[in-house]
Amino acid sequence: MINKVVSNIEQALKGVESNMTFMVGGFGLSGIPENAIAALSKMDVFGLTCISNNAGVDDFGLGLLLQRKQIKKMVSSYVGENAEFERQMLSGELEVDLIPQGSLAERCRAGGAGIPAFFTPAGYGTEVAEGKEVREYNGKPHILESALTADFAFVKAWKGDTAGNLIFKGTARNFNPLMAMAGKITVAEVEELVPAGELDPNQIHTPGIFVQRIFQGEKYEKRIEQKTNRKRD
């Protein structure tokens, strides 16, 4: 088995430089690579392009990188929960590319799957379609969307093994498996790292071939963005 384990966070982030493009997994704060983000927010790397469905909140997730103005451009589908983000966007400091969520997911998947572009009905007739080729299939107009790749993809899984195989939990899976495929270097952090052979091969969500580096995160806060409950009868 090819061993993908890195001994510490410095090794995991080796090669990270200013002006790079990162993919960062997660939906809201669920399934974000907390440890990698925290470490990146302490590094002197700036001018980053971050492809991530959301931009975190003010003091957690990608919000930490926004606070230090490390991000030049966000590529996301929804960015509503972050006051500092709003300030930087309205002042023009931060460039924002908004993409329909399904197109964002498929563009990441395509980037990792060797598909340079694809046609989708999403966004036809809207400002998202501006400047894009339109083709009709089955009597319905579609727009051409291109694949996305990144210098680094930072993903988070529930369990992983030394060969880089990953298993996700619940809705924390979201964009992580797709971004793992599309990173030139994919850094996976996991809650529990086990020796190769301990995970059931039938249950693997992301095969180790897509992961270049893996480590067990020091700790996970796993913050809840909106705690909603029902009453007990």
Partner: protein, 218 residues
């Protein structure tokens, strides 16, 4: 009496078919899950990656790894499944999800919908709305008939940036149930005690009124 948000949700529930997969948007659509008629089995899909979404968890039982598209904590019902975002939107674009229910700021008489952006205000993004409206076979819009200033939201042409074109088939508003057909809003039912005149005044787009329009029954 115009309908309140819970009543709009109840009306939409009467439209639900047995054994179908349904995606609910944020806002009034979320309330639809509360009034599913007995004998109707529905599986709710949330586009962040769950099919078989259940109610909110009890206090103390929240799981940060289990949320809906509105980032609220949820539960998963027996028989639920989890998947990544590309597979989730494969279900949506591939028309495996039977019905999408979502809110709108504006709808036009040809079925265009605007619900993601108000120019000059903070732009939060479209999330999954553009994929949902471009792909769903069946879309029901749950909305208020007029905005806070009393202006119609059922228009000849949307003024706000579009989310999708020619896609809305049915609207349940606080005043009426309408179908979009022949480049017009066709009035099907009216809220109890709401007159045809009131609906006419609140609808800027073409309105088709044929025969007696019954009141909505609960």
């Amino acid at each position: 009496m115009a309908l309140d948000k819970n009543q709009i949700a109840q009306i939409i529930d009467q439209e639900l078919e047995h054994n179908t997969y349904v995606n609910l948007g944020i806002g009034i659509p979320t309330l639809v899950a509360n009034y599913i008629p007995k004998g109707i089995d529905i599986e709710f899909q949330s586009e962040n990656g769950v099919l078989g979404m259940g109610p909110f968890p009890f206090e103390g039982e929240e799981d940060p790894d289990l949320i809906n598209a509105g980032k609220q904590t949820i539960t998963a019902l027996p028989g639920a499944s989890f998947f990544d975002s590309a597979m989730s939107f494969s279900m949506i674009r591939g028309q495996h999800v039977d019905l999408t229910i979502l809110g709108a700021m504006e709808v036009s008489q040809n079925g265009d919908i605007a619900n993601w952006k108000i120019p000059g205000k903070m732009v939060k993004g479209m999330g999954g709305a553009m994929d949902l409206v471009a792909s769903a076979e069946n879309i029901i819009v749950a909305m208020m008939h007029t905005n806070r200033a009393g202006e119609s939201k059922l228009l000849k042409k949307c003024a706000l940036p579009l989310t999708g074109v020619n896609c809305v088939k049915k609207i349940v508003s606080n005043l009426a149930v309408l179908e979009i057909i022949n480049n017009s809003f066709k009035l099907l039912e009216r809220a109890p005690g709401v007159s045809i005149e009131e609906i006419k005044n609140a609808t800027e787009g073409n309105l088709i009124i044929e025969g007696d329009i019954p009141e909505i029954k609960f």
